[in-house]
Protein backbone atom coordinates (compact mmCIF):
# COMPACT_ATOMS: atom_id res chain seq x y z
CA UNK A 1 0.00 0.00 0.00
CA UNK A 2 2.93 2.26 0.75
CA UNK A 3 4.35 1.79 -2.71
CA UNK A 4 0.99 2.62 -4.24
CA UNK A 5 0.67 5.86 -2.38
CA UNK A 6 4.15 6.85 -3.47
CA UNK A 7 3.37 6.15 -7.09
CA UNK A 8 0.18 8.13 -7.26
CA UNK A 9 1.43 11.18 -5.39
CA UNK A 10 3.68 12.72 -8.08
CA UNK A 11 0.93 12.24 -10.64
CA UNK A 12 -1.53 14.19 -8.52
CA UNK A 13 1.04 16.92 -8.00
CA UNK A 14 1.70 17.44 -11.72
CA UNK A 15 -2.02 17.69 -12.29
CA UNK A 16 -2.33 20.33 -9.60
CA UNK A 17 0.46 22.28 -11.34
CA UNK A 18 -1.46 22.23 -14.56
CA UNK A 19 -4.61 23.52 -12.96
CA UNK A 20 -2.87 26.61 -11.63
CA UNK A 21 -0.64 27.25 -14.57
CA UNK A 22 -3.21 26.97 -17.34
CA UNK A 23 -5.25 30.13 -16.68
CA UNK A 24 -2.06 32.08 -16.02
CA UNK A 25 -0.46 31.06 -19.31
CA UNK A 26 -3.68 31.80 -21.15
CA UNK A 27 -3.96 35.20 -19.49
CA UNK A 28 -0.42 36.13 -20.46
CA UNK A 29 -1.05 35.00 -24.03
CA UNK A 30 -4.23 37.07 -24.21
CA UNK A 31 -2.38 40.13 -22.86
CA UNK A 32 0.42 39.64 -25.38
CA UNK A 33 -2.13 39.29 -28.17
CA UNK A 34 -3.66 42.57 -27.09
CA UNK A 35 -0.36 44.41 -26.58
CA UNK A 36 1.56 43.41 -29.69
CA UNK A 37 0.58 44.72 -33.07
CA UNK A 38 1.31 47.39 -35.61
CA UNK A 39 0.97 50.03 -32.93
CA UNK A 40 2.49 48.59 -29.77
CA UNK A 41 0.43 49.43 -26.72
CA UNK A 42 2.03 49.35 -23.25
CA UNK A 43 0.69 46.77 -20.86
CA UNK A 44 -0.36 49.33 -18.24
CA UNK A 45 -2.66 51.00 -20.80
CA UNK A 46 -4.20 47.60 -21.53
CA UNK A 47 -4.73 46.90 -17.86
CA UNK A 48 -6.36 50.31 -17.43
CA UNK A 49 -8.72 49.71 -20.35
CA UNK A 50 -9.58 46.27 -18.99
CA UNK A 51 -10.18 47.76 -15.55
CA UNK A 52 -12.44 50.41 -17.07
CA UNK A 53 -14.54 47.82 -18.87
CA UNK A 54 -14.53 44.91 -16.46
CA UNK A 55 -14.30 46.54 -13.04
CA UNK A 56 -16.01 49.83 -13.82
CA UNK A 57 -12.85 51.80 -13.06
CA UNK A 58 -12.33 55.26 -14.47
CA UNK A 59 -8.76 55.59 -15.69
CA UNK A 60 -7.98 58.23 -18.28
CA UNK A 61 -6.89 56.45 -21.48
CA UNK A 62 -6.51 57.56 -25.06
CA UNK A 63 -9.86 56.83 -26.73
CA UNK A 64 -8.31 55.43 -29.89
CA UNK A 65 -6.07 53.14 -27.85
CA UNK A 66 -9.06 52.06 -25.80
CA UNK A 67 -11.03 51.34 -28.97
CA UNK A 68 -8.21 49.29 -30.50
CA UNK A 69 -7.72 47.31 -27.32
CA UNK A 70 -11.31 46.57 -26.41
CA UNK A 71 -13.12 46.37 -29.74
CA UNK A 72 -10.40 45.09 -31.96
CA UNK A 73 -7.51 43.26 -30.34
CA UNK A 74 -8.98 41.68 -27.23
CA UNK A 75 -11.99 40.23 -29.01
CA UNK A 76 -9.67 39.01 -31.72
CA UNK A 77 -7.31 37.36 -29.23
CA UNK A 78 -10.21 35.65 -27.43
CA UNK A 79 -11.66 34.28 -30.67
CA UNK A 80 -8.19 33.09 -31.71
CA UNK A 81 -7.88 31.26 -28.36
CA UNK A 82 -11.35 29.68 -28.72
CA UNK A 83 -10.55 28.62 -32.26
CA UNK A 84 -7.25 27.05 -31.26
CA UNK A 85 -8.89 25.19 -28.38
CA UNK A 86 -11.73 23.92 -30.55
CA UNK A 87 -9.51 22.76 -33.40
CA UNK A 88 -6.99 21.07 -31.09
CA UNK A 89 -9.76 19.25 -29.21
CA UNK A 90 -11.39 18.16 -32.46
CA UNK A 91 -8.04 16.69 -33.46
CA UNK A 92 -7.66 14.89 -30.12
CA UNK A 93 -11.14 13.38 -30.31
CA UNK A 94 -10.96 12.28 -33.94
CA UNK A 95 -7.48 10.79 -33.58
CA UNK A 96 -8.61 8.88 -30.50
CA UNK A 97 -11.92 7.60 -31.88
CA UNK A 98 -10.87 6.80 -35.43
CA UNK A 99 -7.50 5.34 -34.35
CA UNK A 100 -5.82 7.24 -37.14
CA UNK A 101 -2.89 9.58 -36.41
CA UNK A 102 -3.68 11.61 -39.53
CA UNK A 103 -7.21 12.49 -38.47
CA UNK A 104 -7.79 16.23 -38.21
CA UNK A 105 -10.84 18.48 -37.75
CA UNK A 106 -11.30 18.92 -41.49
CA UNK A 107 -11.34 15.20 -42.09
CA UNK A 108 -15.09 15.10 -42.46
CA UNK A 109 -15.43 17.58 -45.28
CA UNK A 110 -16.10 20.48 -42.95
CA UNK A 111 -13.61 22.95 -44.43
CA UNK A 112 -14.45 21.92 -47.99
CA UNK A 113 -18.17 22.32 -47.31
CA UNK A 114 -17.62 25.64 -45.58
CA UNK A 115 -15.70 27.04 -48.52
CA UNK A 116 -18.40 25.88 -50.94
CA UNK A 117 -21.03 27.55 -48.78
CA UNK A 118 -19.01 30.76 -48.51
CA UNK A 119 -18.39 30.86 -52.23
CA UNK A 120 -22.00 30.10 -53.03
CA UNK A 121 -23.13 33.06 -50.92
CA UNK A 122 -20.49 35.63 -51.93
CA UNK A 123 -19.89 34.75 -55.56
CA UNK A 124 -23.00 33.05 -56.84
CA UNK A 125 -25.24 35.28 -54.72
CA UNK A 126 -27.19 32.40 -53.24
CA UNK A 127 -29.82 33.55 -50.74
CA UNK A 128 -29.83 37.02 -52.37
CA UNK A 129 -27.83 38.79 -49.68
CA UNK A 130 -29.94 37.43 -46.82
CA UNK A 131 -27.06 35.26 -45.66
CA UNK A 132 -23.68 36.47 -44.50
CA UNK A 133 -20.53 34.69 -45.58
CA UNK A 134 -20.38 33.01 -42.16
CA UNK A 135 -23.93 31.71 -42.35
CA UNK A 136 -23.28 30.34 -45.82
CA UNK A 137 -20.07 28.68 -44.65
CA UNK A 138 -21.82 27.12 -41.66
CA UNK A 139 -24.61 25.77 -43.83
CA UNK A 140 -22.08 24.37 -46.29
CA UNK A 141 -20.05 22.74 -43.50
CA UNK A 142 -23.20 21.17 -42.04
CA UNK A 143 -24.32 19.88 -45.42
CA UNK A 144 -20.92 18.36 -46.19
CA UNK A 145 -20.67 16.74 -42.75
CA UNK A 146 -24.18 15.31 -43.09
CA UNK A 147 -23.33 13.83 -46.48
CA UNK A 148 -20.08 12.33 -45.21
CA UNK A 149 -21.82 10.75 -42.21
CA UNK A 150 -24.56 9.29 -44.43
CA UNK A 151 -21.96 7.89 -46.80
CA UNK A 152 -19.88 6.45 -43.95
CA UNK A 153 -22.99 4.91 -42.42
CA UNK A 154 -24.01 3.33 -45.71
CA UNK A 155 -20.50 2.00 -46.24
CA UNK A 156 -20.15 0.44 -42.78
CA UNK A 157 -23.73 -0.71 -42.05
CA UNK A 158 -23.24 -3.85 -44.13
CA UNK A 159 -20.70 -5.12 -41.64
CA UNK A 160 -23.27 -5.30 -38.89
CA UNK A 161 -21.67 -2.56 -36.84
CA UNK A 162 -19.40 -4.98 -35.07
CA UNK A 163 -16.13 -4.61 -36.88
CA UNK A 164 -15.16 -1.20 -35.63
CA UNK A 165 -11.98 -0.77 -37.59
CA UNK A 166 -14.06 -0.89 -40.75
CA UNK A 167 -16.43 1.75 -39.41
CA UNK A 168 -13.50 4.06 -38.61
CA UNK A 169 -12.01 3.44 -42.04
CA UNK A 170 -15.37 4.16 -43.67
CA UNK A 171 -15.57 7.57 -42.00
CA UNK A 172 -12.10 8.52 -43.25
CA UNK A 173 -12.79 7.37 -46.81
CA UNK A 174 -16.19 9.05 -46.87
CA UNK A 175 -14.52 12.24 -45.62
CA UNK A 176 -12.04 12.16 -48.49
CA UNK A 177 -14.80 11.59 -51.03
CA UNK A 178 -16.95 14.35 -49.55
CA UNK A 179 -14.06 16.83 -49.41
CA UNK A 180 -13.15 16.19 -53.02
CA UNK A 181 -16.75 16.68 -54.11
CA UNK A 182 -17.13 20.00 -52.31
CA UNK A 183 -13.69 21.25 -53.41
CA UNK A 184 -14.73 20.55 -56.98
CA UNK A 185 -17.98 22.46 -56.43
CA UNK A 186 -16.02 25.42 -55.03
CA UNK A 187 -13.65 25.44 -57.98
CA UNK A 188 -16.60 25.16 -60.34
CA UNK A 189 -18.41 28.16 -58.86
CA UNK A 190 -15.24 30.27 -58.74
CA UNK A 191 -14.21 29.60 -62.34
CA UNK A 192 -17.75 30.04 -63.58
CA UNK A 193 -18.71 33.28 -61.94
CA UNK A 194 -16.08 34.87 -59.69
CA UNK A 195 -14.03 37.91 -60.58
CA UNK A 196 -10.31 37.85 -59.83
CA UNK A 197 -10.93 40.17 -56.92
CA UNK A 198 -13.58 37.90 -55.41
CA UNK A 199 -11.41 34.85 -55.91
CA UNK A 200 -8.57 36.53 -54.05
CA UNK A 201 -10.87 37.53 -51.21
CA UNK A 202 -12.16 34.00 -50.86
CA UNK A 203 -8.66 32.59 -51.01
CA UNK A 204 -7.68 34.89 -48.15
CA UNK A 205 -10.71 33.87 -46.09
CA UNK A 206 -10.04 30.18 -46.69
CA UNK A 207 -6.53 30.44 -45.29
CA UNK A 208 -7.85 31.96 -42.11
CA UNK A 209 -8.72 35.53 -41.38
CA UNK A 210 -9.36 36.97 -37.95
CA UNK A 211 -9.51 40.62 -38.97
CA UNK A 212 -13.28 40.94 -39.06
CA UNK A 213 -13.75 39.51 -35.60
CA UNK A 214 -15.76 41.52 -33.02
CA UNK A 215 -17.43 40.89 -29.66
CA UNK A 216 -20.49 39.35 -31.32
CA UNK A 217 -18.20 36.57 -32.53
CA UNK A 218 -16.80 36.08 -29.05
CA UNK A 219 -20.33 35.43 -27.80
CA UNK A 220 -20.57 32.49 -30.20
CA UNK A 221 -16.98 31.22 -30.13
CA UNK A 222 -16.51 31.21 -26.36
CA UNK A 223 -19.54 29.05 -25.45
CA UNK A 224 -18.75 26.73 -28.36
CA UNK A 225 -15.14 26.21 -27.28
CA UNK A 226 -16.04 25.80 -23.59
CA UNK A 227 -18.85 23.41 -24.48
CA UNK A 228 -16.47 21.35 -26.56
CA UNK A 229 -13.93 21.30 -23.72
CA UNK A 230 -16.53 20.16 -21.18
CA UNK A 231 -17.82 17.36 -23.41
CA UNK A 232 -14.27 16.11 -24.01
CA UNK A 233 -13.40 16.26 -20.30
CA UNK A 234 -16.61 14.44 -19.38
CA UNK A 235 -15.77 11.63 -21.83
CA UNK A 236 -12.03 11.49 -21.09
CA UNK A 237 -12.14 7.90 -19.84
CA UNK A 238 -14.20 6.83 -22.82
CA UNK A 239 -11.56 8.37 -25.10
CA UNK A 240 -8.90 6.40 -23.19
CA UNK A 241 -10.90 3.21 -23.59
CA UNK A 242 -10.64 3.48 -27.38
CA UNK A 243 -6.86 2.92 -27.17
CA UNK A 244 -7.22 -0.64 -28.45
CA UNK A 245 -10.10 0.07 -30.79
CA UNK A 246 -13.87 0.23 -30.50
CA UNK A 247 -14.42 -3.47 -29.71
CA UNK A 248 -12.07 -3.23 -26.79
CA UNK A 249 -13.82 -0.04 -25.66
CA UNK A 250 -17.16 -1.85 -25.80
CA UNK A 251 -15.83 -4.74 -23.73
CA UNK A 252 -14.81 -2.17 -21.11
CA UNK A 253 -18.32 -0.83 -20.89
CA UNK A 254 -18.36 2.05 -23.38
CA UNK A 255 -21.56 2.32 -25.39
CA UNK A 256 -19.56 2.76 -28.58
CA UNK A 257 -22.15 4.01 -31.06
CA UNK A 258 -23.81 6.69 -28.91
CA UNK A 259 -20.51 7.86 -27.41
CA UNK A 260 -18.71 8.01 -30.72
CA UNK A 261 -21.69 9.66 -32.41
CA UNK A 262 -22.05 12.32 -29.73
CA UNK A 263 -18.35 13.17 -29.67
CA UNK A 264 -17.96 13.33 -33.44
CA UNK A 265 -21.08 15.45 -33.90
CA UNK A 266 -19.97 17.76 -31.08
CA UNK A 267 -16.49 18.39 -32.49
CA UNK A 268 -17.84 18.69 -36.03
CA UNK A 269 -20.33 21.32 -34.87
CA UNK A 270 -17.70 23.28 -32.96
CA UNK A 271 -15.28 23.07 -35.90
CA UNK A 272 -17.98 24.25 -38.31
CA UNK A 273 -18.71 27.24 -36.05
CA UNK A 274 -15.02 28.20 -35.98
CA UNK A 275 -14.46 27.67 -39.70
CA UNK A 276 -17.48 29.73 -40.66
CA UNK A 277 -16.19 32.53 -38.45
CA UNK A 278 -12.49 32.68 -39.34
CA UNK A 279 -11.90 30.30 -42.24
CA UNK A 280 -10.11 26.98 -42.41
CA UNK A 281 -6.99 27.44 -40.29
CA UNK A 282 -4.87 24.41 -41.02
CA UNK A 283 -2.50 22.19 -39.07
CA UNK A 284 -3.61 23.18 -35.54
CA UNK A 285 -5.88 20.16 -35.11
CA UNK A 286 -3.24 17.82 -36.45
CA UNK A 287 -0.06 19.07 -34.76
CA UNK A 288 -1.20 20.20 -31.31
CA UNK A 289 -2.60 16.81 -30.19
CA UNK A 290 0.56 15.02 -31.36
CA UNK A 291 2.82 17.55 -29.70
CA UNK A 292 0.88 17.30 -26.44
CA UNK A 293 0.86 13.50 -26.51
CA UNK A 294 4.60 13.77 -26.76
CA UNK A 295 4.77 16.02 -23.70
CA UNK A 296 1.99 14.91 -21.31
CA UNK A 297 1.35 11.36 -22.57
CA UNK A 298 -1.68 9.67 -24.07
CA UNK A 299 -4.08 9.78 -21.12
CA UNK A 300 -6.95 12.10 -21.94
CA UNK A 301 -7.28 13.33 -18.38
CA UNK A 302 -4.15 15.33 -19.13
CA UNK A 303 -4.17 15.36 -22.93
CA UNK A 304 -7.53 17.15 -23.23
CA UNK A 305 -6.73 20.18 -21.03
CA UNK A 306 -3.15 20.36 -22.32
CA UNK A 307 -4.28 20.36 -25.95
CA UNK A 308 -6.98 22.92 -25.25
CA UNK A 309 -4.46 25.25 -23.66
CA UNK A 310 -1.73 24.67 -26.24
CA UNK A 311 -4.15 25.19 -29.12
CA UNK A 312 -5.32 28.48 -27.65
CA UNK A 313 -1.80 29.79 -27.00
CA UNK A 314 -0.55 28.58 -30.38
CA UNK A 315 -3.29 30.38 -32.27
CA UNK A 316 -2.90 33.61 -30.30
CA UNK A 317 0.83 33.48 -31.03
CA UNK A 318 0.25 32.77 -34.71
CA UNK A 319 -2.16 35.67 -34.91
CA UNK A 320 0.44 38.02 -33.39
CA UNK A 321 3.02 36.82 -35.92
CA UNK A 322 0.59 37.21 -38.80
CA UNK A 323 0.17 40.88 -37.84
CA UNK A 324 3.82 41.84 -37.30
CA UNK A 325 5.80 39.62 -39.67
CA UNK A 326 5.27 41.74 -42.77
CA UNK A 327 4.99 45.47 -41.84
CA UNK A 328 1.85 47.10 -43.16
CA UNK A 329 0.27 43.82 -44.17
CA UNK A 330 -1.66 41.09 -42.35
CA UNK A 331 -0.82 37.57 -43.46
CA UNK A 332 -3.50 34.87 -43.43
CA UNK A 333 -3.14 33.10 -40.07
CA UNK A 334 -3.35 29.69 -41.76
CA UNK A 335 -0.07 30.47 -43.51
CA UNK A 336 1.62 31.03 -40.15
CA UNK A 337 0.15 27.94 -38.49
CA UNK A 338 1.30 25.77 -41.37
CA UNK A 339 4.72 27.39 -41.58
CA UNK A 340 5.29 26.65 -37.88
CA UNK A 341 3.23 23.50 -37.75
CA UNK A 342 4.82 21.56 -40.58
CA UNK A 343 8.42 21.72 -39.27
CA UNK A 344 7.21 21.12 -35.71
CA UNK A 345 5.30 18.07 -36.90
CA UNK A 346 8.37 16.79 -38.73
CA UNK A 347 10.44 17.27 -35.58
CA UNK A 348 7.94 15.30 -33.48
CA UNK A 349 7.90 12.53 -36.06
CA UNK A 350 11.67 12.19 -36.13
CA UNK A 351 12.19 12.44 -32.37
CA UNK A 352 9.21 10.17 -31.72
CA UNK A 353 10.70 7.39 -33.82
CA UNK A 354 14.15 7.88 -32.35
CA UNK A 355 12.80 7.39 -28.86
CA UNK A 356 11.41 3.97 -29.75
Amino acid sequence: MKAIAMQSAPMARTQAHWLWLAPLVLLIALLAGTAIGETAIPVDTILKVLANHLLGANYAVDRIDAGIIWNYRLSRAIVAACCGTALALAGVVLQALLRNPLADPYLMGISAGASTGAVAVTVAGLGAGAFTLSAGAFAGAGLAFGLVVLLAHAASSGTGGGRSTQAAGAIILAGIAGSQLFNALTAFIITKSASAEQARGIMFWLLGNLSGVRWADVMIALPAALGGLLICLWHRRALDAFTFGADSAASMGIAVRPTRGLLIIAVALVTAIMVSMVGAIGFVGLVIPHAMRFIVGTQHTRLVPASALAGAVFLIGSDILSRILVPGQVLPIGVITSLIGAPAFALILVRGTRNR
Binding site: M1, A3, I4, A5, Q7, S8, R99, P101, G158, T159, G160, G161, G162, W234, R237, A238, D240, A241, T243, F244, G245, D247, S248, A250, S251, M252, G253, I254, A255, V256, R293, G297, T298, Q299, G352, R356
Partner: protein, 254 residues
Protein backbone atom coordinates in the same frame (compact mmCIF):
# COMPACT_ATOMS: atom_id res chain seq x y z
CA UNK B 1 -22.12 -16.07 -12.12
CA UNK B 2 -24.06 -18.38 -14.37
CA UNK B 3 -23.77 -17.83 -18.11
CA UNK B 4 -26.40 -19.19 -20.48
CA UNK B 5 -27.05 -18.78 -24.16
CA UNK B 6 -30.17 -19.87 -25.99
CA UNK B 7 -30.41 -20.50 -29.73
CA UNK B 8 -27.76 -17.91 -30.56
CA UNK B 9 -27.47 -17.02 -34.21
CA UNK B 10 -25.35 -14.50 -36.13
CA UNK B 11 -24.80 -13.76 -39.78
CA UNK B 12 -22.94 -11.20 -41.88
CA UNK B 13 -23.92 -10.36 -45.46
CA UNK B 14 -26.34 -13.29 -45.49
CA UNK B 15 -23.57 -15.72 -44.52
CA UNK B 16 -24.43 -17.61 -41.37
CA UNK B 17 -21.51 -17.64 -38.95
CA UNK B 18 -23.35 -18.98 -35.93
CA UNK B 19 -26.50 -21.04 -35.71
CA UNK B 20 -28.62 -22.31 -32.86
CA UNK B 21 -25.93 -22.36 -30.18
CA UNK B 22 -27.15 -23.26 -26.71
CA UNK B 23 -24.69 -23.02 -23.86
CA UNK B 24 -24.93 -23.41 -20.11
CA UNK B 25 -21.90 -22.63 -17.95
CA UNK B 26 -22.30 -23.08 -14.20
CA UNK B 27 -20.84 -20.53 -11.76
CA UNK B 28 -17.12 -21.00 -11.23
CA UNK B 29 -16.77 -23.46 -14.08
CA UNK B 30 -14.04 -23.29 -16.72
CA UNK B 31 -15.57 -24.01 -20.10
CA UNK B 32 -13.24 -24.73 -23.03
CA UNK B 33 -14.27 -23.89 -26.58
CA UNK B 34 -12.53 -25.86 -29.26
CA UNK B 35 -12.99 -26.23 -32.99
CA UNK B 36 -11.18 -25.78 -36.28
CA UNK B 37 -10.41 -22.35 -37.80
CA UNK B 38 -13.53 -20.45 -38.79
CA UNK B 39 -15.87 -22.64 -36.74
CA UNK B 40 -17.38 -19.64 -34.92
CA UNK B 41 -15.51 -19.56 -31.60
CA UNK B 42 -14.65 -15.86 -31.80
CA UNK B 43 -18.14 -14.95 -33.01
CA UNK B 44 -19.69 -16.83 -30.10
CA UNK B 45 -17.41 -15.09 -27.58
CA UNK B 46 -18.29 -11.69 -29.08
CA UNK B 47 -22.01 -12.40 -28.68
CA UNK B 48 -21.48 -13.63 -25.11
CA UNK B 49 -19.60 -10.41 -24.30
CA UNK B 50 -22.37 -8.26 -25.76
CA UNK B 51 -20.13 -6.78 -28.48
CA UNK B 52 -22.63 -7.89 -31.11
CA UNK B 53 -26.37 -8.21 -30.66
CA UNK B 54 -27.35 -11.74 -31.68
CA UNK B 55 -29.62 -12.00 -34.73
CA UNK B 56 -31.51 -14.73 -32.94
CA UNK B 57 -31.54 -16.02 -29.39
CA UNK B 58 -30.46 -14.54 -26.06
CA UNK B 59 -27.55 -14.40 -23.64
CA UNK B 60 -28.30 -14.44 -19.92
CA UNK B 61 -26.08 -13.87 -16.92
CA UNK B 62 -27.69 -15.11 -13.72
CA UNK B 63 -31.02 -15.32 -15.59
CA UNK B 64 -30.83 -11.70 -16.65
CA UNK B 65 -30.80 -10.92 -20.38
CA UNK B 66 -27.76 -8.86 -21.36
CA UNK B 67 -29.71 -7.36 -24.27
CA UNK B 68 -31.55 -5.27 -21.68
CA UNK B 69 -28.39 -4.24 -19.82
CA UNK B 70 -26.28 -1.15 -20.44
CA UNK B 71 -22.83 -1.83 -21.86
CA UNK B 72 -21.29 -0.43 -18.68
CA UNK B 73 -23.20 -2.88 -16.48
CA UNK B 74 -22.29 -5.80 -18.72
CA UNK B 75 -18.63 -4.80 -18.46
CA UNK B 76 -18.88 -4.75 -14.67
CA UNK B 77 -19.60 -8.50 -14.84
CA UNK B 78 -18.03 -9.73 -18.08
CA UNK B 79 -14.48 -9.15 -19.34
CA UNK B 80 -13.25 -10.22 -22.75
CA UNK B 81 -9.69 -10.74 -23.95
CA UNK B 82 -9.69 -10.43 -27.72
CA UNK B 83 -7.29 -12.25 -29.98
CA UNK B 84 -5.68 -9.18 -31.50
CA UNK B 85 -6.01 -5.76 -29.97
CA UNK B 86 -3.24 -3.41 -30.95
CA UNK B 87 -2.44 0.25 -30.57
CA UNK B 88 0.14 2.67 -31.93
CA UNK B 89 -0.15 4.95 -28.89
CA UNK B 90 2.86 5.45 -26.65
CA UNK B 91 1.12 3.96 -23.65
CA UNK B 92 2.61 2.32 -20.55
CA UNK B 93 1.78 -1.18 -19.37
CA UNK B 94 0.32 0.10 -16.11
CA UNK B 95 -1.99 2.46 -18.00
CA UNK B 96 -3.22 -0.36 -20.24
CA UNK B 97 -4.11 -2.47 -17.22
CA UNK B 98 -5.71 0.61 -15.65
CA UNK B 99 -8.12 0.77 -18.59
CA UNK B 100 -9.77 -2.28 -17.07
CA UNK B 101 -11.13 -0.07 -14.30
CA UNK B 102 -13.12 1.99 -16.85
CA UNK B 103 -16.53 0.41 -16.15
CA UNK B 104 -16.23 1.33 -12.47
CA UNK B 105 -15.05 4.91 -12.90
CA UNK B 106 -17.02 8.00 -13.72
CA UNK B 107 -16.78 11.75 -13.39
CA UNK B 108 -18.13 11.34 -9.85
CA UNK B 109 -16.08 8.26 -8.98
CA UNK B 110 -12.44 9.14 -9.78
CA UNK B 111 -9.38 6.91 -9.73
CA UNK B 112 -8.46 5.84 -6.18
CA UNK B 113 -5.73 4.01 -4.30
CA UNK B 114 -7.96 0.94 -4.39
CA UNK B 115 -7.83 0.98 -8.20
CA UNK B 116 -4.04 1.16 -7.97
CA UNK B 117 -4.05 -1.91 -5.73
CA UNK B 118 -6.29 -3.83 -8.14
CA UNK B 119 -3.99 -2.96 -11.05
CA UNK B 120 -0.93 -4.09 -9.07
CA UNK B 121 -2.60 -7.40 -8.22
CA UNK B 122 -3.61 -7.99 -11.84
CA UNK B 123 -0.06 -7.27 -13.02
CA UNK B 124 1.49 -9.71 -10.60
CA UNK B 125 -1.17 -12.35 -11.43
CA UNK B 126 0.15 -12.50 -14.99
CA UNK B 127 3.80 -12.10 -13.95
CA UNK B 128 4.14 -8.63 -15.50
CA UNK B 129 4.66 -6.50 -12.38
CA UNK B 130 8.32 -5.97 -13.23
CA UNK B 131 7.35 -4.51 -16.61
CA UNK B 132 4.70 -2.09 -15.33
CA UNK B 133 6.56 0.96 -16.59
CA UNK B 134 7.46 -0.39 -20.01
CA UNK B 135 5.97 1.13 -23.14
CA UNK B 136 3.47 -1.03 -25.03
CA UNK B 137 5.38 -1.09 -28.32
CA UNK B 138 8.51 -2.42 -26.59
CA UNK B 139 6.71 -5.61 -25.51
CA UNK B 140 6.79 -8.94 -27.30
CA UNK B 141 3.60 -10.62 -28.52
CA UNK B 142 3.37 -12.86 -25.50
CA UNK B 143 3.95 -10.00 -23.08
CA UNK B 144 1.21 -7.98 -24.77
CA UNK B 145 -1.14 -10.93 -24.42
CA UNK B 146 -0.40 -11.16 -20.70
CA UNK B 147 -1.02 -7.41 -20.29
CA UNK B 148 -4.39 -7.82 -22.00
CA UNK B 149 -5.26 -10.61 -19.59
CA UNK B 150 -4.19 -8.40 -16.69
CA UNK B 151 -6.42 -5.65 -18.08
CA UNK B 152 -9.35 -8.08 -18.09
CA UNK B 153 -8.51 -9.20 -14.53
CA UNK B 154 -8.47 -5.56 -13.41
CA UNK B 155 -12.11 -5.46 -14.47
CA UNK B 156 -12.65 -7.95 -11.59
CA UNK B 157 -15.14 -9.83 -13.75
CA UNK B 158 -17.51 -12.51 -12.57
CA UNK B 159 -17.31 -14.01 -16.04
CA UNK B 160 -14.07 -14.02 -18.03
CA UNK B 161 -14.08 -14.68 -21.78
CA UNK B 162 -10.72 -15.50 -23.35
CA UNK B 163 -10.19 -15.85 -27.08
CA UNK B 164 -7.17 -18.10 -27.64
CA UNK B 165 -5.20 -16.47 -24.81
CA UNK B 166 -2.29 -18.87 -25.09
CA UNK B 167 -1.39 -17.80 -28.63
CA UNK B 168 2.07 -16.18 -28.75
CA UNK B 169 2.89 -17.40 -25.23
CA UNK B 170 5.93 -19.50 -24.47
CA UNK B 171 5.18 -22.86 -22.88
CA UNK B 172 5.90 -21.66 -19.35
CA UNK B 173 3.47 -18.77 -19.59
CA UNK B 174 0.89 -20.90 -21.40
CA UNK B 175 0.82 -23.22 -18.43
CA UNK B 176 0.88 -20.45 -15.85
CA UNK B 177 -1.98 -18.55 -17.53
CA UNK B 178 -4.08 -21.71 -17.79
CA UNK B 179 -3.30 -22.53 -14.17
CA UNK B 180 -4.30 -19.00 -13.15
CA UNK B 181 -7.52 -19.18 -15.14
CA UNK B 182 -8.49 -22.52 -13.60
CA UNK B 183 -7.81 -21.25 -10.10
CA UNK B 184 -9.91 -18.11 -10.50
CA UNK B 185 -13.14 -18.52 -8.55
CA UNK B 186 -15.11 -17.08 -11.50
CA UNK B 187 -16.85 -18.44 -14.55
CA UNK B 188 -14.49 -18.73 -17.51
CA UNK B 189 -15.11 -19.44 -21.18
CA UNK B 190 -11.84 -19.98 -23.00
CA UNK B 191 -11.22 -20.86 -26.62
CA UNK B 192 -8.19 -23.04 -27.19
CA UNK B 193 -6.37 -24.69 -30.06
CA UNK B 194 -4.26 -27.04 -27.98
CA UNK B 195 -6.59 -29.98 -27.40
CA UNK B 196 -4.45 -31.44 -24.62
CA UNK B 197 -4.78 -28.15 -22.76
CA UNK B 198 -8.54 -28.27 -23.35
CA UNK B 199 -8.60 -31.62 -21.51
CA UNK B 200 -7.91 -29.68 -18.30
CA UNK B 201 -11.17 -27.69 -18.51
CA UNK B 202 -14.20 -28.62 -16.40
CA UNK B 203 -16.28 -28.93 -19.54
CA UNK B 204 -15.62 -28.36 -23.19
CA UNK B 205 -17.73 -27.55 -26.24
CA UNK B 206 -16.83 -28.36 -29.84
CA UNK B 207 -17.68 -25.82 -32.52
CA UNK B 208 -17.93 -26.75 -36.18
CA UNK B 209 -19.43 -24.71 -39.01
CA UNK B 210 -21.06 -22.24 -36.61
CA UNK B 211 -22.75 -24.89 -34.51
CA UNK B 212 -21.96 -26.28 -31.10
CA UNK B 213 -21.91 -29.93 -32.09
CA UNK B 214 -20.93 -31.44 -28.75
CA UNK B 215 -20.36 -30.44 -25.17
CA UNK B 216 -19.63 -32.19 -21.92
CA UNK B 217 -16.76 -33.72 -19.96
CA UNK B 218 -13.50 -33.49 -21.96
CA UNK B 219 -12.87 -37.25 -22.08
CA UNK B 220 -16.43 -37.89 -23.27
CA UNK B 221 -16.21 -35.29 -26.02
CA UNK B 222 -12.67 -35.68 -27.30
CA UNK B 223 -12.82 -39.18 -28.75
CA UNK B 224 -10.75 -40.49 -31.64
CA UNK B 225 -13.87 -40.45 -33.82
CA UNK B 226 -14.52 -36.79 -32.96
CA UNK B 227 -10.91 -35.86 -33.70
CA UNK B 228 -11.14 -37.54 -37.06
CA UNK B 229 -14.55 -36.15 -37.98
CA UNK B 230 -14.30 -32.54 -36.80
CA UNK B 231 -10.62 -31.79 -36.61
CA UNK B 232 -9.49 -33.95 -39.52
CA UNK B 233 -6.70 -35.78 -37.73
CA UNK B 234 -5.96 -39.38 -36.91
CA UNK B 235 -5.06 -39.60 -33.26
CA UNK B 236 -4.59 -42.03 -30.44
CA UNK B 237 -5.68 -41.38 -26.89
CA UNK B 238 -3.11 -42.65 -24.41
CA UNK B 239 -2.88 -42.86 -20.66
CA UNK B 240 -0.11 -40.81 -19.15
CA UNK B 241 1.97 -43.21 -17.05
CA UNK B 242 2.87 -40.45 -14.60
CA UNK B 243 -0.50 -39.13 -13.48
CA UNK B 244 -2.88 -41.46 -15.29
CA UNK B 245 -4.52 -38.64 -17.23
CA UNK B 246 -5.43 -39.06 -20.86
CA UNK B 247 -3.35 -37.44 -23.56
CA UNK B 248 -3.81 -37.25 -27.29
CA UNK B 249 -1.11 -38.13 -29.77
CA UNK B 250 -1.84 -36.80 -33.25
CA UNK B 251 -0.62 -39.01 -36.05
CA UNK B 252 -1.55 -37.41 -39.37
CA UNK B 253 -4.10 -35.28 -41.17
CA UNK B 254 -7.08 -37.09 -42.66
Amino acid sequence: MKLTAQQLGWSVHGRTLLEDVCLDVAPGQTFGLIGPNGSGKTTLLRLLAGLNKPKTGRVHINDRSIAKMRQRHIAQSIALVEQQAETTDRIHVRQVVGLGRTPFLSALRPWSAQDDAIVDQALSDVDMAHMADRLWHTLSGGERQRVHIARALAQQPKILLLDEPTNHLDIRHQLSILELVRQLPITVVISLHDLNQAMECDRIGVMDGGRLIASGQPHDVLTTERLQETFGVYAHVLDDPIDGKRIMRFRSAV
